[in-house]
Every structure is written in structure tokens, then in C-alpha cells.
Amino acid sequence: MDYSQFGAMLPELIILGLFLIVFLFDTFCGEGQKKMLTPFTTILFGLATVAIWLIPSSGEAIFGGMYVDDTACKAMKAILNIGVFIVFLQSAKWTESDEVAIRKGEFYELILVTLFGMYLMISARHFLLFIIGLESASLPLAALVAFNKKHYESHEAAVKYILTAVFSSAILMAGLSYIYALSGGSLYFGDIAEAIASGSRSGLLIVGLAFLIAGIGFKLSLVPFHLWTADVYQGAPTAITSYLSVVSKGAAAYAFFIIFVQVFGAVYSDLWEWMMYAVIILTITVGNLFAMRQKNMKRFMAFSSISQAGYIMLGVMAGNFGLASMMFYIFVYIVSNLGAFAVISAIENKTGKLSMDDYDGLHKTNPWLSFAMTLAMFSLAGIPPFAGFFSKILIFTSVTSTGSMALYMLVLIALINTIISLYYYLLVVKAIWIKPGDAKVEAFRSSTGERIAIWLCVAGIVFFGLVPYIYDYCYDAVKTAYGLLI
């Protein structure tokens, strides 16, 4: 075996190296230095993010084509890294709390391991590697969900998560075994694509596809594979919830695109396009319908994230242009959602309040938090000129540019849902700015990490819609990797 091939996996190696450093530091440092773990990890991770953003991708397919690190994969990894970095910043305060401080090393290590798994999901071109990535991204998350081990809700959430995760893995495996049977004994993406293109449209393929959608749809919390989401989001510590809601979704969405377009692209128009059509409509609508009624902010964000996942999945319908728009959407979604979560977690850490009613009149005591939250909500709802507007318009444009009438209808339904989503996002804004009465949260100063996280998110929301840098970055990356966009 040619070990030099590992050199082509630079992003993975960086994350793995970082994991080892953090692990060793956490294990061997003295009690006094333990305090340094949080800034140490955050700063190192920030450097790693910059490094991954800057290093050129090798573009090679290694290990017999099991792994590819092309420009698009690398761009996606860089975007996920930004998300993780913001999560680290906003959770810095939380990791210092009495209950967690002693175990905070585990928090960072587990997150890094899951991130490593997501990298593999993104770069995998062989189902075995993909499963390894998926599982190493899933299982540690269960441990993370249970991180507040003295809280009952945290346990309950972890149990629900692990049970449904195991179940979904089983379904995914079952689906894969059908695909394996059809492909004539190969799990390489390329081989399967060839076999399917020439093979017949059997029932086996349909069931296999449905199970694959279900299996990956679990990570994305697409409807009807989403039922775990709300309970888990609510029970998990807020830092983990925000991680679950953006980073883990981003990786799964990218992997979904690669698998379905590259492997099953040949049967797109007559098979899985319609499955996804139904799933997307269900996801956006059901997510919205549930989000309207939520009073708990974390549960509210859970349903909002379900509906957002539906919008992300629109990109799958539109080829490479869709991929570029989807990556941009994920980036914008990361900054907007994490902006909201940063505010939620700042308030929760300080006061323990999580209900939407507690946000009444927040602007009187905490104007900056209110401002950030409002921008995040505007961006999530897609109000111009914030980034969310541009990401929505680009993903809609990519879908309509296919020219298919059915997809126009899909965009129309998504648009109608945007109006519904406006209702519940503005509920939060209304609570903060308009509802009469005294503020229920007293004025406080959020920690440095939280403040940096919020500033980063606000900057992203305000600038990266108007300044096309990130979009161009995604666009060029996809163009270099997969050729012409439309």
C-alpha cells in the first residue's frame, strides 16, 4: 500500500491531528492548565479553519477511488469548519460551568471526531467509507446529547437519539444491500452508477432508493424521518443542539447530493426526483406547521431547522448549479441559525430561561442581543437585504433554471411556505420589540466567546448576501470540481 496517499487527505489529517493534540493536552495537563483548554482548542481550531480554507485541494482520488478531495468537497469542509468554530465560541462559557468544566475535554474531542466523520461522508466515493463516516458522525453525537448527565431530559434525548439512529442505520444498510445486489457486487459510486444506468428499473431499486433517502433523511431530519428532532434538540445541551442543527445537517446534505446525483443521476427523472419532490414538500410544510405552535425556543428552532432542511434539499433537484446554491444556502443557514442559537444560549447560560414568553420586551434590557436575534430571524425568513434572502433567491433560481414545470410548482410551494415561516419568525421579533410589559430577562453582559460568535454571525448575515465572495467561492469550487453548472 502506498502510504503517501494519506497526503491527499490533508483536511482529515488536520482535524485528526487537532483531535490528538486536544486529547493529549486534556489527559496529561495539570489541574492548573485545564483552564487553558477552551481558548487553546478554540484558537487552534480557528487556525485549522483558516488552513483548510486556504490549502488547495489535491483533487486526487485515492485508495482506489474510495476517497476524493476535490475543490467542492474542500469548500464544503471549510464551510462546516466555520460552523464548528462559531459553536466553539458560543459554548466557551458553557464549558466553564461547574457541571461541565471537568468534562469539557470530552466535549471538544467528541465534536472533533464527529467532524472527522462528516469529512469522510463528504469525501467518500464508496459506500463502506460513507457508512464509516456516517456512524462516526452519529454515535459520538449520542454521547454529546447526553452531556448534561445530571439532567433527565438530556438522558431521554440521548436514548431517543440512539434508538432512532440505530434504526435508521439499519434501514440505510438494508437499502444499501439491495443496491449492492443490483450493482453486481460493488459499492463504488462509479460502479453502481454504471450498473444502474444499464439495468432495469426494478422494485428492488425503488425500495433501495427509498431506504437510502430514509437513512440519510434521518440525519437531515426530513419529514417523515424527523420525529426525533424536536425531543433531542430540546433535551440536548444548547451547544450540541446548535451543532446538530447546522453542521451535521450541512454534511449530510452534501453527501446526499453526491450520492443521489453522482450515483443515481441516471434514474433521477423517473425515480427519486418524485420521491424527493414529495419529501421536500412534506418537510417544508410540516416543519412550518409545527414551528408555529412552539413556545420553547429550542423546540421552535428544531422545527424551523426541519423546514430549512427542506429548502436546502431543493438544491438536490437542480444539478451542479443547485449544488453551488445549496452550499451557499448552508453557509448562510449556518451563520443565521448559529446567530439565533448564540443569543438563545447566552440567555440560557445567564438566566436559564428558554421560553419564547421570556423574550418579551428583551430590547429594553439587552438591545444588542435583541438586534442580533432580529437579524438572525430576518435572515432565516429570507427578508432582503440579509444573506438569507440571497441564499433563498439563488436556490430558487437554480431550481427554476432547470425549466421543468413541476419544479416551478415546487418553488411556488416553497414560496408559500416562506410566507408561513415569516409568521413564526416574526413572532420572536414581535416578542422582543413589540409586546408590552417589562422585560423578563435582566440586563447582562454576555461572555467574550458569545460576543465574538454573535458578531461573526451578524457580519455574515449582513455582508455575505450583498458581497458575493462566499457564493463565488462555492460557485468556482463546484465549477472546478464538476464542470459546467447548468
Binding site: K160, L163, R201, A214, P224, F225, W274, N288, R293, I420
Partner: protein
Amino acid sequence: MGITLPILILAIPFTMFLVLGIGGVKMPRKVAGVIGILANASLLAICYTVAFRYFFSGDTQFIVDGVRQQLQVFDVTWLAFTERLVVKIGFLLDPICAMMLVVISTISFMVHLYSWGYMEHEPGFQRYYAFLALFTFSMLGLVVATNIFQMYIFWELVGVSSFLLIGFFYKLPSAVSASKKAFIVTRFADLGMLLGILVLTFYFPTFNFIDITHNTGNVLASTGGATFLGASVLTWALVLIFTGGMGKSAMMPLHIWLPDAMEGPTPVSALIHAATMVVAGVYLVARMFPLYLVEEASLQFITWVGAITAFYAAVVACCQIDIKRILAFSTISQIAFMMVSLGVARPDIHEGLGYMASMFHLFTHAMFKALLFLGAGALIHAVHSNNYTAMGGLRKYMPITHWTFLIGCLAIAGIWPFSGFFSKDEMLSAMFSYSPFWGYWMTMVAGLTAFYMFRMYFLVFWWEENPHYKEHKPHDAPWQMSVPLLILAAVSCVAGFIPFGHFVTWNGEPYDIHINGQVAATSLTVAIIAIAFAGWLYWKKNDKPSLMRQALPALWTAAHRRFYWDEIYLFVTRKIIFGGICKGIAWFDRHVIDATMDAFASMTQFLSVKIKGMQSGSVQTYVVWYFLGALVLAAITWICIL
């Protein structure tokens, strides 16, 4: 040319807007003022450097064989919707752009400096400087636009900053309604502009100015001879785009906002409503001039609109009491002058003299009109009233203001050797060469101009001393206000001798200005007679003016009430639109649209309650849903496909 300076030109005012807008509340007013003025001084230096390099360096990217070139310093893609629909943001450097950089940065700097004295005691001083910076940013972005869409974006931004500045004294109801009026009227006009842009780019799919103006034949061909209501679609597009210019430049019948806009602080009137923003319409036509040349009808439309407006505004200006209103109508009239000059410009008439003259007048007018406004500001500052009835005999109390104001009046009246003479003479000779009728018509307007300006001058500085002076003695303004007056007065004295034709012409080739003796003699004679007449009426207090007024009371009242345009607008909007048409629309809105939305909302709520059970909390149910979901998905696809 590198991109550093051009980027700085936009970055400096925008940063100032952010810094003063966000941090201003915490700054002492002196710090905010100094920061604003210093930033503007550096902006001034950079704009001058760019313009100087463009005009004088002789670099082949700017000038080839004596012909000035259009250079896109940068042009980055901002939004690429489709192959055809690409919105770019860039920096286009060409003669008119370089000239506008000079005008905007000069006037903006003068106003920044002047405001330090004028606005000293006003609350919201920092906010005022932030808005000024926003305006400067938007206006510079407008003139450097590489494409019509970028121009449209900044066009709206100047509209917004104008709105914010007119309504600066937001506690005065009159200022609030004036700002709303300005915004709504210009916004309404911009709708026409947007339609024009859409029509134009529908046929010829590029926003880029260079592509449009260098391929006029292709643009015409691309429309395929399509017509609409008897005019070609290209004429429609151009006239609609010009509508936006009519709004911003206050051409009839969209002029009604500009006199009211004088509710804003006077330095703002000088910057926005005299020198820069209101000439955006002229700039727009000049920018797309080669395309306007293709459609003769569109240029004739511009000529007619301009000529009627010029005369109307000049007549109204003769019967106003508020000195800022007089200046406002004078501005309308002068801009209309430039419009007519553009409208009569043809390549075969003195190599497009009208275009050059129009730009020349834009330049000189910006300087002397800013001077007059700032002078008016000094007067208002001294007597605390806008009306000339509160003034009179001020020459002894305010010598600096008096002399600079006199220079401004001489310049606008077109007296040799002040700058207005030269530019007006060029415009008039262009008009005479095109058609003697427009030539005589506009000479008459020029005479009226001289008359109403000197009517104001004599009433303010001569006439008789106001008795109030005994209790409250007026005096010249502080140095921050006097220095800009002196500088602008000096510019107005010498600007006429600039060989403007060597810098700005419609196709970049140099043109030698030569004074047309006959035209010059006519216009000078008319101006001097008008000034003498004004002197005869208003030099010393007498009853000739009131006798004249009594002789023709109806005409005077009509002109004083601006020929009832505001009343007509109010009648149309209140009685016809709100009272008639809108009733039906409102009914439809309430009973059809709202009802549909309500039904939609209650249906959503209903569904939301119904599906609540799905989220039971029991993990067994979740898994069942999960598995059933996958199976149903497969089953339905199976049934449909196989």
C-alpha cells in the same frame, strides 16, 4: 490606473457613514464634525488626484490620439442570476465622471465645512454628518456606475439620503411632509425609469453603459422595429428612463417636491438640491447620450420638457417671498436649461456643442448655485427667517456675504467675466444653431433669470433696513461658513476661462470654445436690461412693486402659488385616486385578499393542531412513522412507475 484610489473614493464616505452612524451617539459633536471634515478632505484629495490623472497624465489608457477614452477601472460580478441577467458593480472613468468627481467632492467638502458652523447648535449633529456621508457615498456611486442597474441602485440610495436629510428636523411637521413628498414623487418617477431599464434590457440584454452606447446600431436592431402606441419601443424605453431623470431633476410636472425640499437644512439644499443630486437627471441623459441620438423623438421630448420647465420655473421664481424657494425655482430653471441644451445637441451641429455646453453649465452652475445657497444660509443664520421681508439693507452688516452673493448673482445672470456667462453663451449658441425659436425662447428665460436673481439681491441687500436690526444686529457668519463662500466665489469668477471643451465632449474629441459674438451680445444685453429693470424696481423702498402687483393681481397670485400645481396634485391624489379609484381597491383588498389570507391562516392553524399527535414523545411511534414513511414512499413510487 490601479483600483486602490477608485475603491477608496467609495470606501471613505461609506466608512464615515458607518462610523458616524453607529458610533456618533457616543462622540462629542466636535469630534464627529472633525472626523467628517477630515475624511472629506482626504476624499477631496483622492477625487482630485483621479480626475487630474485622467485629464492630464496623457496615459494611453485615458487618451488615445487626443480622444479621451472610457475606462472601466474594475467591474465585478455582483449577482449572476442567469447568463443574460448579470448585475455588476464597477467604476467607470470617463470625462463626465471625472468632472462629476471634482464637483461632488468640492461641494461636499464645502458643505461639510460650512455645516460645522451652520449646524453647530442643532441636536443630532452627528446624525447629520452621517447622513451627509451616506449621500456623498451614494452620489459618487451613481456617477461612477458602469452599468444602468448599478446606477439605479445608487439612484435610489441618493433618494433615500435626500429623504433623510430633508426630514432632518423630524420634529417639524412641514419637514416631515416635505421629505415624504420628495421621496414619493421621485420614487414614482423611478418606477418609470425601472420600466425603461427593463424594456431596454429585454431587447438588448446588457446593463453595461459602454456596450449600450458603443453599439447603438445593435440596440436599435435588437428591438426589431417593434413599436408601441405609435412610437418605437426604443423611444419608449429612453423616455421612460428619462422619467426617472425628470423626477430627480425636478422637471415639470414632477417638479413639485423640490421647492418643499427646502425644509431641509440649508447646506443640504446647497449640496443635494442645487449642485449634485438634482443634476443626476442631466447626468443620466449625458451618460446614455449616444443612445438618445438614435431616437430623435426622445431628444425632442427632452427639449420640450426642459424648455417649458425652464420658463415656468423662471416665472414662478419672480413671485416668491422665501429666498430659498426663489433659489429652488432658479435651480429647476437652470437644470431645465441644461436639459434643453442636451436636447438640441447633435453631432452635426458644431460637433455636439450642446452636450459640452450642458456639462459646462452643470459644472459652473454647481459652483455658483452652491455659493448662492450657502450665502442664503448665512443670511438665514443672521436674521432667523427665510423671507426677504425680514431682510433688506444687509450689505452694511454682512459684507462678505454681500460680495460673494453678488458674484453668485452675476454669474447666474450670465455677466462677463463670471463663469455663468461662458457656459450659458455656449448653451445659447447651441440652441440658436439648432433652431432660432428655442434660441430666443431660452434667451428670454435667461433674461428672467437675471431679473429674479437681482430682484432677490436688491430686496435682501438694498431696499430698506429692517427695523428688527436694532434689537438683533445681523453680522457675518463664522469662518467655517465664510471660507466656503469665498472659495466658491473665487471659483465662480474664474471657472469660465477653463477650456472646458478640451476636457468634456460627447465623443471625447477636443472642441475649441469660441464665443459667438452675436449670441453673447444678445444675451448680455437682455441680462443687463433685466438687471437694470430689477434695480429700478427694488433699489430703494418704493411702491412701484406693489402697484405692479395690484395691476395684475390674478397673475401674481397664480405665480406666487406656483400656478396651483400642488393643488392639482392634491385634487388628483385625494379626490380622484384616494376618493374614487382606491375605494374599490380597498374593498377588494379587505374582502377578497385579506379574506383569502385569513382563510389560509386559519387552515394552517387547523392543520397544525390536527397533526399534533404525530409528535407524541414516544420513540416507538417515531420508529413506526419512520418505517412506514420509507415504505409508503417506495410503494407509491412503485405503483406510479411500474
